[in-house]
Amino acid sequence: MKRSPGTLLLRWSGRVLVATVLLFVLLPGIVVAISAFNDRAILAFPPQSWSLRWFWRAFSYADFAKGFWNGLAVTVWASSIALVVGSAFAFAIHRYKFALRDLLEGILLSPLIIPHYTIGLGVLILASQTNVERGFPLVIFAHVVMVLPFVMRSTYISLENLDIRLELAASSLGATPLRILFTVTIPLLIPGLLSGWLFAAILSFNEFTATLFVSSQATQTLPVAMYNYVREFADPTLAALSVIYIVVTATLLTIANSVLGLGRILNVDAH
């Protein structure tokens, strides 16, 4: 089939545009990834000589290992608490009418209004006023506040997409409201709940600003440990850590998708 020069031009300029945008988005990641393999103890691009030693250092540096496990604990707790609380709120806002409902909905669904440093500072002031020590509960509390809106939003959207007739059909078949909740509503919300949790977990694990305020040496998470590291050293360890982080996250998401069958749960694949 013959195409006019105009169509060809459009096709090629389209491809170039897509490639440019892709490059633009991926550039920071690519630069950091390549810098991680520099043999010399400086963050330079492109590297003159190559080595894997910074990966070894990233693994063996005690603060990173501790920060990783701290962060993981904070993330799991914060995301799970936010999932329960946020879902309950989303359910209430979606299903019931009550005083200040719209205000509550507005506040809880707009996480971008309050900056993270404000949350960190607020929690810190609160903690010192009430003499609460800067332990894990404090960090988790700050993280719950930050990820709650995202979990809520995810559950809320799932509820919006849930066909109310499924619940009506169940009730006509003799199911009590509680039975409907556990046999119909929650099973059908699982994809939304799961993706909300995952989103919250990724946000929480990466969170730095608020965590810097509320964490201590004992409770610092990986991003805070990385910040403290970069104040002392300027070698490619952080770049290596970035590469590890990207690879691990991508792998986990891929496994989650294929083994857990996100596609199947989300009801998007054919059979």
């Binding site: 007739r165 078949l173 003799g174």
Partner: protein, 382 residues
């Protein structure tokens, strides 16, 4: 017609002693949404084993009525009884009602068998009995062997059968059908209608069927309640609805109707005589009780009740053929008759003879050949 007679016979035998007590009864049930009245004082008695259709355009209140019977909505006034028991305040899960939705509302995360078994599980039926009844229900809807499929692996027609099996397996007191055929393509719709009707008759389950499709309503129902703007306009058997519509709305919503300009000539008992030009016709008097002798009336005549004669024949109206539409089994003729009707008159001429005998432009006479003619006080909208 034969089918209907059979149905009547079946009703009598199944209903038996329950005949006196309606399966479903609505006493002045009202439902408001904010300021608007969705259902205005509905009075309705549905007999045991009856197939009752709620027919009307969208927004007429038919789905609201269905939801009130199901217990999905709370009435703002009036009482609802199911098999003689007051259920106005009874929650949906205690009403023992089967419902089939337009989109079937099958549980997507459960297999066909689990879907059908759902209502048995809530009732605590034991495993063996449950398996037996699920198999029985699936056999009834001809889906044996589909137990392990998921709903999304089924066609629309099959999904509908599962929904029907799921609703029937609990042996509901009333089966509610909310526009179940509108998502099916036309061919499938026809065969599903026949099948549903057979199953309904076989089980003798009292059924309330909601539709906006008058063809569906006429062909499937024992009785039809025609609804408009939140009110029930007429409750009667399909032939009665078609032949003796209670008001303008029913007359124009069910079937095609030509509106002819007439005049009330005389009234004697239940009957009245109206004149349309030179033609006289007998109509029921009840619908034009408030019209004075000599006053104008709108006469509703079905297309198949008109026939073509020669221009000037006695007892005919003069008209000119403006359009022919060949429909296969019959020909639709549109006839201008400025003296008798505002709009072109539709005449249904059987066979294909009308094509050649009544060409466009032909000047013909129209005769009215039926007793099933009704008249209403003049008005614009139905």
């Amino acid at each position: 017609m034969l089918m209907r007679t059979n149905q009547m016979a079946a009703n009598t035998s199944v209903a038996g002693s329950d005949k006196a007590r309606p399966a479903v009864q609505l006493d002045g049930v009202t439902k408001r949404f904010g300021d608007s009245i969705a259902l205005h004082e509905a009075w309705l008695k549905i007999r045991s084993s009856e197939f009752m259709t709620l027919l009307g355009p969208s927004g007429c209140g038919k789905t609201t009525l269905l939801n009130l019977v199901a217990g999905f909505l709370e009435a703002d006034g009036g009482e609802i009884f199911i098999e003689g028991a007051l259920v106005t305040e009874t929650p949906a899960h205690m009403r023992e009602i089967g419902i089939v939705f337009q989109n079937y509302a099958l549980f997507p995360h459960m297999s066909v068998a689990k879907n059908v078994a759902y209502g048995l599980k809530t009732r605590g039926v034991d495993k063996k009995e449950m398996a037996r009844r699920v198999d029985e229900a699936l056999a009834l809807v001809k889906l044996s062997g589909f137990s392990d499929r998921k709903p999304r692996q089924l066609s629309g027609g099959q999904q509908q059968r599962v929904a029907l099996a799921r609703a029937l397996v609990i042996r509901p007191k009333v089966l509610l059908l909310d526009e179940p055929f509108s998502a099916l393509d036309k061919n499938l719709r026809g065969s599903m209608q026949v099948e549903l009707k057979q199953i309904q008759r076989e089980l003798g389950v009292t059924t309330i069927f909601v539709t906006h499709d008058q063809g569906e309503a006429l062909s499937m129902s024992d009785r039809i309640a025609v609804m408009s703007a939140g009110r029930i306009r007429q409750i009667a058997a399909p032939d009665e609805i078609y032949r003796r519509p209670a008001d303008r709305f029913v007359a124009s919503f069910v079937g095609d109707a030509n509106v002819l300009n007439g005049r009330l000539v005389e009234r004697s008992g239940d009957a009245a005589v109206v004149s349309i030009g030179e033609v006289r016709a007998s109509v029921p008097a009840a619908t034009i009780a408030e019209v004075a002798i000599g006053g104008s009336v709108d006469v509703f005549v079905r297309p198949e009740h008109l026939s073509v004669t020669s221009r000037g024949a006695s007892g005919s109206l003069p008209g000119t053929v403006t359009t022919q539409v060949f429909q296969g089994g019959h020909v639709d003729l549109y006839i201008d008759a400025p003296g008798s009707a505002r709009d072109p008159i539709l005449l249904r001429s059987p066979g294909i003879a009308g094509l050649s005998s009544c060409p466009v432009g032909a000047e013909i006479g129209l005769s009215i050949g039926s007793d099933d003619i009704v008249a209403f006080p003049p008005g614009e909208a139905p």
